[in-house]
């Protein structure tokens, strides 16, 4: 039933697709950059600073989504012992961590001209920093623990515990008084971003997804081969 999860079935699988994902990524990137840097208008209050959003928001979304996926993978690893999800989680971690850092840095650059400060200890910013540290703990657990089977358990546990932070980040702007503004795009209700700014944002998000996907597939292949070479299976 779970044959598709066996490593020999996905080692060779993605080589044929990855080229087309790269093509799609590059064309979307060019399109998205032109839209967000030149075509889209400046904001009525922020001016051109608003363009930072086209990097900041997709990076933040992805770092949350990737960690959520890692948390679920951690659960599947611990409870059902699917080795596949250990590898998924392990290959996702550095990608999510990078996006988390991008989000923190671009947010900081945006905050200086907009709020008047690079950093504030409000709920959203602090919980995002906590996420960065959880990513670091996760990655370190693989580096420090040499025994594969032990590292697999510890890292899965870290990703499960870190999962609790994800809703806190998402809803921090509603639960606390924060300097950070609430979400402009909600699951219910119309977005409060004008459509001329929403389109580049969505396209830049797709660009980031493609980028993450390419990196993920390459890393997953590497981790699978690495595991096979070290005969952990």
């Amino acid at each position: 039933m779970f044959d598709f999860l066996k490593s020999k079935n996905f080692i060779g699988f993605h080589d044929q697709y990855i080229f087309w994902i790269k093509v799609l990524f590059l064309s979307l990137l060019i399109f998205g950059l032109i839209l967000s840097l030149f075509v889209s208008p400046a904001d009525y209050l922020q001016g051109d600073t608003v363009r930072i959003m086209y990097v900041h928001v997709p990076a933040s979304w992805l770092s949350l989504m990737i960690f959520a996926a890692m948390g679920v993978s951690g659960l599947l690893t611990l409870v059902f012992k699917f080795r596949f999800f250990t590898l998924v989680s392990k290959s996702l971690a550095p990608i999510g961590f990078t996006f988390c850092l991008i989000s923190l840095f671009t947010g900081s650059i945006w905050g200086q001209p907009t709020w008047g400060t690079f950093w504030a200890w409000d709920a959203r910013l602090t919980s995002m920093l906590v996420l960065a540290f959880i990513y670091i703990f996760y990655i370190l657990s693989w580096k420090i623990i040499k025994k594969f089977l032990l590292a697999e358990k510890i890292s899965a546990l870290i990703s499960l515990i870190g999962l609790a932070n994800i809703p806190v980040i998402k809803f921090s702007v509603n639960w606390w008084n924060t300097l950070h503004q609430p979400a402009s795009i909600k699951l219910t209700g119309a977005p409060t971003i004008h459509s001329s700014m929403l389109t580049p944002l969505v396209i830049m998000f797709l660009v980031f997804v493609m980028f993450a996907l390419i990196n993920f597939l390459i890393r997953l292949k590497f981790e699978t081969l690495n595991m096979k070479l070290n005969k952990h299976e």
């Binding site: 904001d43 009525y44 409870v79 400060t117 609790a164 924060t178 971003i193």
Partner: protein
Amino acid sequence: MNKNVKKRIIFFLISVITFLIIGQYIFKSLRKNTVYFFTPSELFILSEIPRGIIRIGGMVKKNSLNKKNNTYQFIITDFKQEVKVEYVGVLPNLFVEGQGAVIEGKLIDRLSLKAENILAKHDEKYMPKEVADALKNKGSWQKKYGK
């Protein structure tokens, strides 16, 4: 499904429930004790006036900003309560009447504050200048859009 998997599922469910119960208490106390800023109404119902530096946040009331010598005076409101603010220094670019701001400073009394630092708060509305102008001209500019 074999026996061990069942055991682990049950263990997992129990730990999730325990975690949710404990987490709820942590969350409640966190909400009470980690305040980045007070709104004027929250400040008004506090039993004790906080000494030292605090932050208050809200809208800068329209037509309340004026400048005497080097001192700015304005009112921060959450449409229920108001706090008068005095500030010496440079205002951030996005600090405008009708938009949000977070003020750091010391309370003189419950209703007035001497500011030491001002942060402009941006809301979740993004739109091009032309759209904002058009909305204003049409008269359909709503108070919640700001300026």
